[in-house]
Subunit: 333 residues, 2 copies
């Protein structure tokens, strides 16, 4: 294993310090925690929107801190949920008097800790709501979840909920529009290689030189099918068709898409995948209103990609197209 | 080798099609070429700013198309200069009557073909200027250059020249400010792994499991020193000190920095490097005015990073901080 790291145990701390060092006017770290919040949090009169989860998925979540998206992002150790007390600190720090929406990816540890944190914050008179994102169409249950996993569709939830909060929506309205995204989004991923965690220093699973894994999650957990190497077009077709099967879209529907890199895949390859994804969508009579291509939710150094499709209506288009100004901003408006 | 590609020979074409498919309202491809231009090019009364070079460095250069940066970007085959006739087509397509600045990385093929293209365009009454970027402090001459190589500092040239053109600067003013960046910027890179080109399908050079290469270029060409694996802090210190030695900055100088990923390195590791880069700059009495962290100029799937430092004055700060709206936009304002 070769990585640009120091002591594996300092990985998350040093990464967070490096983010603050890059953006000292935009984010700050809550003392003694692995929580980053907007430098100007809490914002009076605005619903707070926060998220969090295990590290190793950068720029998820702290990269989405900023105007029009997240107010707070809690980092756990690599692939490990943040603790409930740190989540509660984040919720309190991001409450501008109108309550806080927690956007939670569906993993048992995250869901449990966010629930506990919410209950603790409510005892301190903070109004808290929670949406659980479960967009991965590959598996019904998995190693770390009951129900489907939450993956890259979460970024659309951040964007839409963040925009609604910035536009003055109240907690119920922000929650409802976040749930609308959850109800209309699907994702499926694949890997060419396993990721290597800093602590373990070796691949989480073995994958031969002529094999790929379909239906992979974002923690090096097994996919649903191991198969021979496929071309980029075949990968794009398979992932897109699986997502479309799940979403049951109608001819003429407008969609937004993400072709997301898993961390070790060059952007050129993601564009090659996107080319075919858009063709497949066109063949189904769908209209792509916006297409994102890049590393949005990664799995350390894993090579691979995922395809996310979101069914749009006028409200979602308006919120997805609203300005956002975040650390990792990649054509968000 | 495992890559998300189809036929290696279609790599560049399909990548460009995938970019247009993602951003059809923002960019278009000139027929029969590998040139992308802003959808609204040429912009009447504005100096055109264009660049180009071999593919494999994405998001360089086409990712920087858009308001406040580039009007045109020409892609060659992987690590191969675009042809002079395609460069000329780009220059003509981006001339809004005020002339065109070509931003050229210092490689013999690029410099020669851009010069030829400029002469051809001038015969058609287009005013053309050229700046050659040679920011790599690692080597004085290299496999593909006489003089230093042009690497990630080029992105600062795109940003500053693009902002000056957007602000109404004439060709001479835009050229002068681009040259000011060239005179004040330095970069040094390193690799943990070699890149693998689509056509060749195997590493360009061999690097042992316990070795890294310092002073690497962006084409898999050899670095200046092969050494044992170093920690992220040691890498950050070495690269930053080499760049500072070259720039001869004064105590209290303000700088902008890029910690750039080579394509296969996760963003978390780049932030860990950035943490130490900023500490080293602080130890030298320098003030970081802006810090970029991410994949700006890559070398296919290579794991590694580079550090870029730019000495700032008031003019450069204003232009660096001006809004930009590009495909690959990563916190450009």
């Amino acid at each position: 294993m070769k990585k640009l790291i120091n002591e594996p145990g300092d990985y998350v701390d040093e990464m967070l310090d490096g983010m603050v060092a890059a953006h000292p006017k935009r984010v700050r770290r809550l003392d003694g925690t692995k929580v980053l919040v907007r430098a100007d949090a809490p914002i009076d009169g605005k619903v707070g929107v926060v998220s969090g989860g295990g590290s190793g998925h950068e720029p998820t979540h702290a990269g989405y801190l900023g105007e029009g998206m997240l107010d707070g992002a809690a980092a756990g150790e690599v692939f490990t949920s943040p603790t409930a007390d740190q989540l509660e600190e984040m919720v309190n720090a991001c409450d501008g008097g109108e309550g806080v929406l927690c956007v939670v990816k569906n993993y048992e540890g995250d869901v449990m800790n966010f629930e506990t944190a919410g209950e603790m914050a409510e005892m301190e008179e903070v109004e808290v709501a929670q949406v659980v994102v479960d967009d991965d169409v590959a598996v019904e249950d998995s190693l770390y979840t009951s129900g489907r996993r939450g993956v890259c569709g979460t970024i659309f939830v951040h964007k839409v909920a963040g925009a609604k909060a910035a536009a003055g929506g109240d907690l119920q309205e922000v929650t409802e529009v976040a749930e609308k995204v959850v109800d209309n989004v699907g994702t499926m991923g694949m890997a060419l290689t396993s990721c290597i965690t800093p602590e373990k220093g070796e691949p989480t699973f073995d994958l031969g030189e002529d094999e790929i894994e379909l239906g992979i999650g974002i923690h090096g957990e097994p996919g649903v099918e191991r198969t021979d190497v496929m071309s980029a077009d075949e990968v794009a077709e398979h992932l897109t068709e699986q997502v479309l099967d799940d979403l049951e879209l109608d001819d003429g529907d407008e969609v937004a898409t993400i072709v997301n890199g898993m961390g070790g895949t060059p952007m050129s390859e993601l564009y090659i995948v996107n080319r075919r994804v858009q063709e497949v969508l066109g063949d189904h009579g769908l209209e792509t209103w916006d297409a994102w291509v890049g590393d949005y939710m990664t799995s350390l150094d894993m090579m691979g990609c995922s395809v996310t499709v979101l069914r749009l209506d006028d409200e979602l288009k308006e919120l997805l197209g609203a300005p956002a100004d975040t650390l990792a901003l990649k054509r968000m408006d």
